[in-house]
């Protein structure tokens, strides 16, 4: 986060407020900025993030698109190639699949395939994640599907101040950025957000809590639960270090390795499926570069290998982790 001076003023915001305030400033400050997506205009987005934007900035800058995700992203790519700074919204991350080629095959490759002649400064925002009874098609995590793709950047901040700083960085970035907003944190998580324009560097993790017994790496909603679990363990005399990745691609390898070399134990916690997830890549990287610093096998506490969480409460409960489940995973690794 940007260095706060003692005189810097802040506002208490939740994550929705932080996204909204940042988008508002971007629209206010740069006439090249346009927002396009389903129900972003008169409705002001299904979470009211762009409420009244259409009135203030006009429907030509806050574009209610047809229900057609591939072309929401594809049109935004064309706008970006022709000098606008589009912010495309996919209403729920679950709906991003029709746009897969436009993100992976087009946006991520525009600069590369044209040898730098054309660029694609594009932000794709989308709410993801569960714990809100979202069922199979309003709850998924999509990061692992895009994580494999060079040319993309993927951000998943958990705190309002990080949301603002990283969304500003994404908007300023000359390349395509996939900006993931955990929908359960939208109104649940509040925090002080500095006034004025600031950015947080893309690719920098945040050590939220220092510790000595083990390292927990997480992002999104589970960062908050990991912190809660770490507090419980502190009461039991186990000191846990908690790292919030914030940026999934590029990833802060240095922060992870430094922490693991100190604590000698690594637990990765994420809401996305375990198999082929972000944790798999972190595990491989730590195994390649810091195996002999480890005192225990790397552990991953992630979602089971099923398509998504079911609508029925017990199905969602079984799929999702919790502070208690994360605390158990921490205790088990600490005991090893």
């Amino acid at each position: 986060m940007a260095v706060s001076s003692p005189t810097q003023t802040t506002q208490l915001m939740n994550n929705v407020d932080a996204v909204r305030a940042t988008l508002y400033d971007a629209m206010k400050n740069d006439p090249r900025t346009v927002i396009l997506g389903e129900d972003v205009g008169a409705r002001g987005n299904v979470f009211l993030i762009t409420k009244d934007f259409s009135k203030e900035f006009g429907p030509q800058r806050v574009i209610d698109t047809p229900i057609a995700e591939a072309s929401i992203v594809g049109i935004a790519v064309g706008m970006a190639m022709e000098g606008l700074r589009p912010i495309a919204e996919i209403q729920f991350a679950d709906f991003i699949y029709p746009a897969f080629n436009q993100i992976v095959g087009e946006a991520a490759k525009t600069r590369y395939r044209s040898n730098g002649e054309y660029t694609c400064p594009l932000v794709i925002r989308t709410p993801y994640g569960g714990g809100v009874r979202g069922a199979l098609s309003h709850s998924v995590s999509i990061e692992a599907l895009f994580y494999h793709v060079p040319g993309l950047k993927i951000l998943a901040p958990a705190f309002p101040a990080d949301v603002k700083g990283l969304l500003n960085a994404a908007i300023d970035d000359p390349d395509p950025v996939l900006f993931l907003e955990h929908k359960k944190t939208y109104r649940l998580i509040k925090g002080e957000v500095p006034d004025g324009h600031y950015t947080i560097p893309i690719g920098k993790a945040n050590v939220l809590k220092e510790g000595t017994a083990l390292t927990v790496v997480s992002y999104g909603l589970y960062v908050h639960w990991a912190l809660e679990a770490a507090q419980q363990l502190a009461d039991e005399g186990i000191s846990v270090e908690v790292i919030d990745l914030r940026s999934i691609r590029p990833m802060d390898k240095t922060a992870i390795l430094q922490s693991v070399e100190k604590t000698r134990k690594l637990l990765i916690v994420h809401e996305d499926n375990k198999f082929g997830g972000i944790g798999a890549e972190i595990s491989a990287m730590v195994a390649e570069e810091a195996l002999f610093s480890l005192d225990a096998p790397i552990r991953r506490h992630c979602a089971p290998d099923v398509p998504a969480m079911g609508y029925a409460e017990p199905l969602e409960h079984e799929y999702m982790s919790s502070p208690a489940k994360i605390a158990d995973a921490m205790r088990e690794l600490a005991r090893f």
Partner: protein, 341 residues
């Protein structure tokens, strides 16, 4: 088609000067020569792959003549050699692409015929059919948003591409916002090995325009003058705020899909021969001769010039260096590539 090839009748020019007619013919000859060169170089083992546009010459020469250089944008597909030439790319640039040399606009990264040139207004595109159509529409939106009257986007595709969902999504969006874009379908009746009747139940693509509430026209794409007239009118409408148009130019793919394709496994020699009777290149040559736009000597001289230009461009491009191994790692993001950072 009859209106331009009957000797003695006044030529229907659609406002084109003699010089423009000759320029279109030159483009057509150059297309055929460069197409031929790509296949030759492939058979000589000098390039791994080539794509031909043979049969599309008139359509592309005519459409390119309607393009306003320095203002309009072209969002083409991979069978648009003549459009690339017609908006200003040189044979040398085409051959750099064929040979995958470092000096190619794409740095030798893309397949041949996947041109891009920001200077020429030619938008970068991939091999994924219809993926470029929303890009054209997004660029047209940017033009309209900035109030840039007098600019438009010409986006092309083959008949097969109109089966893609993004084709529909793009035309629909352009219609909603009355965007300055012309959708030009180069209907050559074949989508690699799939004939048009297996591609769509209703084979007159231009008729879909009615469903979008925009103008639609079909024309003879073997006639560059008729093509020019249709594309020019549509682009002018787009440039002056009149919204999008769907155009369908009828042509034929004389060659296989690419150097890696044998079209005799799915169509007959007789069918190709039948269409060859309407070959647009000798046909337009006759029109120019019959109407004294060019003499026989002029035509022969032009053919020699085009061959010489192609030979010189071939030698020059072939002599250029490949990209180096280090070039694999550039232009992924702004700045240097750092895995995992």
């Amino acid at each position: 088609m009859a209106k331009t090839d009957t000797k003695g009748k006044k030529i229907e020019r659609n406002g084109l000067s003699d010089e423009q007619l000759r320029a279109m013919f030159r483009n057509m000859l150059l297309q055929r020569q460069l197409d031929n060169r790509g296949f030759q170089l492939n058979r000589q083992g000098k390039v791994p792959f080539a794509l031909g546009s043979e049969g599309h010459e008139a359509l592309q020469a005519g459409a390119a003549m309607a393009f306003h250089r320095g203002k309009d944008l072209l969002a083409p597909y991979y069978r648009d050699l003549g459009l690339a030439l017609g908006i200003g790319l040189t044979p040398y640039e085409i051959l750099l692409s064929l040979f995958a040399r470092a000096a190619d606009h794409n740095g030798g990264r893309q397949f041949p015929n996947h041109y891009s040139s920001k200077a020429a207004g030619l938008m970068s595109f991939s091999s994924i059919l219809a993926a470029h159509i929303p890009h054209a529409v997004g660029a047209a939106y940017a033009m309209k948003y900035r109030g840039e009257r007098g600019r438009a986007v010409l986006v092309t595709c083959g008949d097969g591409t109109t089966s893609e969902g993004e084709w529909h999504e793009s035309v629909n969006f352009a219609s909603i916002h009355k965007l300055p874009v012309v959708f030009l379908v180069e209907n050559n009746l074949w989508a690699i090995s799939t004939p048009i009747e297996h591609q769509m139940g209703q084979p007159e693509i231009w008729k879909r325009a009615a469903g979008y509430g925009i103008p639609g026209h079909r024309f003879n794409g073997f006639d560059p003058i008729e093509t020019y007239g249709n594309v020019n009118e549509a682009l002018d409408r787009a440039r002056s705020g009149g919204g999008p148009t769907l155009l369908e130019g009828m042509c034929y793919r004389f060659l296989a899909h690419s150097t890696d394709d044998n079209d005799m496994t799915y169509r007959t020699k007789e069918e190709v021969t039948e269409h060859r009777k309407d070959d647009p290149v000798p046909r337009f040559e006759r029109v120019l001769l019959d109407h004294d736009v060019m003499s026989g000597d002029d035509v022969e001289q032009l053919k020699r010039d085009v061959l010489r230009e192609t030979n010189e461009a071939t030698d020059r491009a072939e002599a250029m260096p490949y990209p180096t191994a280090a070039d694999l790692y550039t232009h992924l993001y702004e700045g240097a590539w750092q895995p995992w950072q």
